[in-house]
């Protein structure tokens, strides 16, 4: 990540250090909280309307494409306020994640104008952007005529802003000066360890501090618990297997997916360090992972933890968060723990996933769509979600500072805030932005599956993977 | 009878049907067939002849009674162990096999030497004239050829009994006459006990030593063809056997000075008692009503008591068929000479006492045949 771009986590850390100050000063924070409360009872609608012509597109009808996710649920729960505020109508299609991104691709690639805005991750914009399917949102953010004065774009964690901006050059730095803002961060997650405190107590282990430890702890758990397995990580044949715990640990070992020189990319997964890391990872799954690991998406990883079928997960913090509540069997039994895989590393380096909102380039009512997007990413809405709904890991600094939100989390989720605060400084996207992202990660996941199934030795598998990716890069003119 | 090959004793076949009354297809059938004898089972469709055949073959269980073949009781044995060979009526050939393999299949599976098989197949296919089609598949040959192949497949086996179901039904008329002769001489020569089912009297007459006439599951009469023609046991046999069938009318009987049969709005057959032997008159006795029958060939045209309007007069090249409208029915007369009469004209006719068959009006059993009692 660029030096120029301020790492939002660093900024937040700075914020945290001055928290007492800020809390004592209260000022802005109290104001924000008040504004959010207003929003909740509908008064904010009028308050917002006072500064900006929210009714400009009254009567227009927006159509959204959403992933089945608590963030979307939170937004839907608040949608009536948007309708009242703008006089617009909003409808949406909502799909489970299994098929969601295929739906997005189908809609965008056919240049369909049926959706105006949609949920996406940052990785996807590396495809959508160059393909010309989405808009550079700077055109709107920076236009005072189109964006309400209270929007406060700078309140969004800077690292997230940077991670969702790319100049379109393969290997180009995220958040560079010439970067286009392909999407607006909405909610995010970072990867750490969530564990079952009861099980850990029963077996008498403590959360692992690094990968070698984790391998051991997980093996012990698996052995001693007699039923539940030690560690849950994703394993499906998909990019999603690579990006959470796996890449976080990988980055912690200082490893990269590509090296970039002279604008050319070269696969970097077959370094000796990478091979060692892969070996540990594979061993961990073989010894203590879920039996049908290779079909595991975050749904299964989470469900197992919640149902008491696994003792630990190394995945999104918010996933652990969800499993600690609801009607899950292990509700309230979970603990959260920041994790630096490399024993030599000083701090965790979690890779992040950022749920964002992007605008369909084929939309016929982009300005109106932007109204929705700025509302959905506004402080007010973010605050509503964080306080009242499960909008954990909100993207705005001001929300993270909200006491009501913090208290709620602190009270009900054992160690969540500590985990977050320990992890966040090193959290960012550790992938190299480039158009073959999905080709590469899917193949990487496939290779991992083969390694775990002992179809190929780790060293050999990684050499093959790197060679194959280099060939593809070359074919695509990137290598 | 000395040498009985097959005997059926009190054989019943009752089909049980769900939710419907059972069907009694064969009723208390008794039949004994001598070794080497050729029997025809004659009857209309549904008369029970096919059920009988299938019971003998073992495709249908016997409801009652027993079947003995070559001194073995076979009615409980599986078909394969009964020692019976059968030629089926329909498409019974094995479609996937050539005609040759069809004929040889049973022999081969019985592990006969290839040479023997070949010899026997050649012999039998010459007999039924299918040598040219031996290497064709059943689907590519005509119905008649299939039937002959099926016949060959049955005859090629050595069995205690041969069942032939309508063995010539599909053949062209010319070929049928030729094959009939050959089949008969083969059966006679080898003393092959056989039963064949047919609805064609010509065939039954030509082939069989004795004919079993069945109707409604009951064996009506089992006799030689001459016997059937001259002395039908009942009205059914009388009207079933014979081409064209016997003309029959219900008549009022007057058995006194004269023997007189008066058909309402129809002919009167009137004879002096002296013309009729006493036993016959006694047999007819005091009946007030009876059914009288005259075979078409016995109707004497051009004279006599009765007159009728001609409905049609058809000359078939060697015989004339004359239909008259009598008592609302057709009365048919056959002559081997052309009759010069046209439809619509009237003609006189009569019948001789010797040609008159009398049946009981109620039981339909024969009372007398011409000058003899039944």
């Amino acid at each position: 990540m660029s030096d120029k771009a301020k790492d939002f986590f660093e900024a937040f850390k700075a914020g945290k250090m001055s928290r007492r100050e800020l809390m004592a000063g209260a000022g802005k924070l109290g104001l924000s909280a008040a504004a959010a409360n207003f929003l909740l009872n509908g008064a904010a609608t009028r308050a917002l309307a006072a500064d900006f012509n929210w009714k400009k597109f009254s009567g227009e009808k927006l159509h959204l494409l959403l992933n089945k996710h608590p963030y979307a649920d939170a937004m839907i729960a608040d949608l009536a306020n948007f309708k009242t505020l703008t006089g617009m109508d909003v409808t949406y299609d909502i799909f489970p994640e299994d098929v969601y991104f295929d739906k997005v691709t189908a809609a965008l690639s056919s240049k369909s104008s049926q959706y105006d805005a949609f949920m996406t991750g940052a990785y996807m914009t590396w495809t959508y952007g160059p393909a010309g399917w989405i808009e550079d949102l700077n055109q709107w953010i920076k236009d005072p005529a189109k964006t309400n004065p209270n929007y406060n774009w700078d309140d969004v964690l800077p690292g997230l802003r940077a991670s969702t901006a790319w100049n379109g050059v393969p290997g180009g730095e995220l958040g560079s000066a010439d970067a286009k803002q392909w999407c607006i961060p909405w909610g995010f997650e970072l990867n750490s360890i969530t564990y079952n405190r009861k099980m850990y107590d029963k077996v008498g282990v403590k959360p692992a501090n690094n990968l070698p430890e984790l391998v051991e702890t997980a093996a012990k758990l698996t052995k001693d618990l007699g039923g539940p397995y030690g560690i849950g990580v994703r394993g499906s044949r998909s990019w999603a297997t690579i990006h959470p715990g796996f890449l976080s640990g990988y980055a912690n070992y200082g490893q990269k997916d590509f090296t970039v020189s002279d604008g050319k990319l070269k696969a970097a997964m077959n370094t000796p360090e990478s091979k060692d890391y892969h070996k540990l990872w594979v061993k961990m799954i073989q010894e203590s992972g879920p039996k049908n690991w290779s079909t595991y998406t975050w749904y299964q990883v989470g469900t197992d933890l919640g149902a008491g079928a696994s003792a630990t997960i190394f995945d999104a913090d918010i996933l652990g968060y969800f499993m600690d509540g609801g009607d899950n069997k292990e509700k309230g039994n979970l603990g959260f723990h920041a994790f630096a895989a490399n024993p030599a590393a000083k701090a965790p380096t979690p890779n992040v996933w950022i749920w964002s909102l992007a605008m369909n380039a084929a939309s016929k009512q982009k300005d109106a769509a932007w109204y929705f997007m700025q509302w959905a990413s506004s402080t007010e809405h973010d605050m509503f979600g964080a306080r009242k709904m499960d909008f954990v890991n909100p993207v705005r600094q001001s929300v993270w500072k909200d006491d009501e939100f913090r208290n709620r989390i602190e009270k009900s989720y054992n160690g969540y805030l500590q985990q977050y605060e320990a992890s966040s400084p090193g959290a960012r996207i550790y992938f190299t932005a480039q158009p073959l992202f999905f080709d590469v990660t899917t193949q990487w996941a496939e290779t991992l599956q083969k390694m775990v199934a002992k179809q190929v030795p780790v060293d050999e598998g990684l050499d093959q993977l790197a060679a194959s990716i280099d060939k593809q890069l070359k074919d695509a003119g990137l290598g | 009878m000395a040498d009985i090959a097959l005997s059926l004793t009190k054989v019943d076949k009752i089909y049980q049907r769900r939710g419907k009354p059972p069907v009694h297809a064969v009723k208390s059938l008794d039949m004994a067939v001598e070794r080497g004898e050729i029997i025809a089972l004659l009857g209309s469709s549904g008369c029970g002849k096919t059920s009988t055949l299938r019971m003998i073959a073992g495709f249908e269980a016997v409801s009652n009674g027993d079947i003995v073949l070559a001194d073995r009781r076979i009615d409980q044995l599986p078909p394969a162990r009964r020692g019976v060979a059968m030629a089926f009526e329909g498409y019974s050939l094995y479609p996937p096999l050539t005609v040759r393999d069809n004929i040889a299949f049973a022999l081969k599976s019985a592990r006969l030497s290839a040479k023997d098989v070949e010899k026997r197949v050649a012999e039998i296919s010459r007999l039924v004239e299918i040598e040219e089609i031996l290497d064709r598949y059943p689907s590519s040959i005509s119905g008649g050829q299939q039937q002959r192949a099926s016949l060959a497949r049955a005859l090629v086996r050595r069995a205690d009994l041969y069942l032939l179901d309508e063995p010539m039904g599909q053949l062209e008329p010319q070929l049928r006459a030729v094959l009939r002769g050959r089949l008969k001489s083969l059966l006679v020569e080898r003393r092959m006990t056989s039963i064949f089912v047919t609805h064609d009297q010509t065939e039954a007459n030509a082939l069989a030593d004795r004919i079993a006439v069945m109707e409604a599951g009951v064996l009506q009469q089992f006799a030689s063809q001459k016997e059937l023609r001259d002395r039908p046991a009942n009205l059914f046999v009388a009207t079933f056997v014979g081409e064209p069938p016997m003309n029959v009318f219900e008549a009022a009987v007057e058995n006194g000075e004269r023997l007189r049969f008066k058909v309402t709005a129809g002919p009167t057959f009137d004879f002096a008692s002296s013309e009729i032997p006493l036993p016959v008159r006694q047999a007819i006795g005091g009946r007030e009503r009876a059914v009288v029958g005259v075979r078409p060939h016995a109707i004497r045209l051009g004279g006599g008591l009765n007159e009728a309007r001609i409905v049609s007069n058809q000359w078939l090249g060697d015989q004339s068929h004359l239909a008259m409208d009598v008592a609302g029915k057709l009365l048919v007369a056959v002559s081997h000479k052309p009759i010069a009469a046209k439809a619509g004209e009237k003609i006189r006719y009569d019948a001789a006492a010797a040609d008159l068959h009398v049946f009981d009006a109620a039981t339909e059993a024969a009372v007398s045949h011409g000058l003899e009692t039944a």
């Binding site: 691709t105 899917t442 | 498409y91």
Partner: protein
């Protein structure tokens, strides 16, 4: 009529008016389908392009380069192999299994009829739904099948998530869904076979084994070929079961044609490759079905001749 007039008739064969009716009847159906088929031509065109949606600047006509790339790509041959293996296994197992069941149910009786209807139920289950069902049943935590397998003492059976058993698992689901289809077809076939040849064989004392292999099986052939054809077409294009269950994994174990091209398109946005893959699949399907249809027509001719 004079002889000359007759002659003139003989000399001039009548021009038969073309009957437009059949065209009138069949064209609407054709038009509706051809409308759908235009994309097919487009797909052929795409397959000749270097065409990745997210690298628009690379788009260009490259003739058969996509195909050539595949032919030299080991993973492509793996896809061919897996697809054919899957097809052979499912069609083979389903034929044998379906035939066995049909033979067991051959005799029409109340029990047999009820069973044959009950066995239709899996067929009525959408394959995608069936895949979901089996996914639940093979779940290692609460899946009832996993539980049974464990009871049997096999503790490490991983169903679809182990490369060694993944193919077995999806084939099992396919077998579960489609065997009834084959069964019912063959059952109908068996029951419609003429009885007399079998009676003849029974009477002639032909051993059962003989009868089965020399008579029953050949007579059932048209039905078997039809069943195989139907299944073949579906199997080689399998997607509904494999994709929801494994997405082609584990590793590349089940990366069959349609799954692979689906991923090429929707995940890698590589339109050219995806189209080329599908065209190859189409060619294979076409070739295979041609073989079967020829066989089927031959058998039909024979069956028709018989009737």
């Amino acid at each position: 009529m004079t002889a000359a007039a007759v002659k003139s008739h003989e000399a001039a064969p009548r021009r038969r008016k073309a009957n437009l009716l059949p065209y009138f009847l069949s064209l609407p159906a054709l038009l509706v389908c051809v409308g759908i088929l235009i994309p097919f031509v487009t797909a052929i065109y795409y397959s000749l392009l270097r065409f990745r949606l997210n690298l628009p600047m690379l788009k260009g006509f490259i003739w058969f380069q996509n195909y050539i790339d595949f032919l030299t790509d080991a993973t492509f041959w793996h896809t061919v192999r897996v697809s054919l293996l899957y097809t052979a296994l499912t069609v083979g197992v389903e034929l044998v299994f379906g035939l066995t069941i049909a033979l067991l149910l051959q005799k029409p009786s109340r029990v047999n009829n009820v069973i044959s209807v009950l066995l239709l139920l899996p067929l009525m289950t959408a394959p995608a739904i069936a895949a979901l069902m089996w996914k639940l049943m093979t779940n290692p935590n609460f899946g009832v099948l996993s539980y049974f397998v464990q009871l049997l003492g096999v503790s490490n059976f991983k169903w679809a998530s182990d490369p060694n058993t993944a193919l077995f698992t999806v084939v099992l689901v396919d077998v579960w869904v489609y065997t009834p289809f084959i069964m019912i077809l063959l059952l109908a076939g068996l029951r419609s076979l003429p009885q007399q040849p079998f009676e003849a064989a029974a009477l002639d004392g032909v051993p059962r084994r003989f009868v089965f292999f020399r008579i029953t099986l050949p007579m059932l052939m048209p039905y078997m070929v039809t069943a195989a054809l139907f299944r073949l077409l579906d199997s080689i294009q399998q997607f509904d079961i494999i994709y929801p269950m494994t997405q082609g994994g584990p590793g590349d174990t089940l990366l069959v044609f349609q799954v692979r091209s689906y991923l090429e398109f929707y995940q890698y946005t590589n339109v050219g490759k995806s189209a080329a893959l599908l065209i190859i699949l189409w060619a294979i399907t076409y070739a295979l079905s041609n073989v079967f249809i020829k066989q089927w027509l031959r058998l039909r001719e024979r069956a028709r001749g018989l009737a």
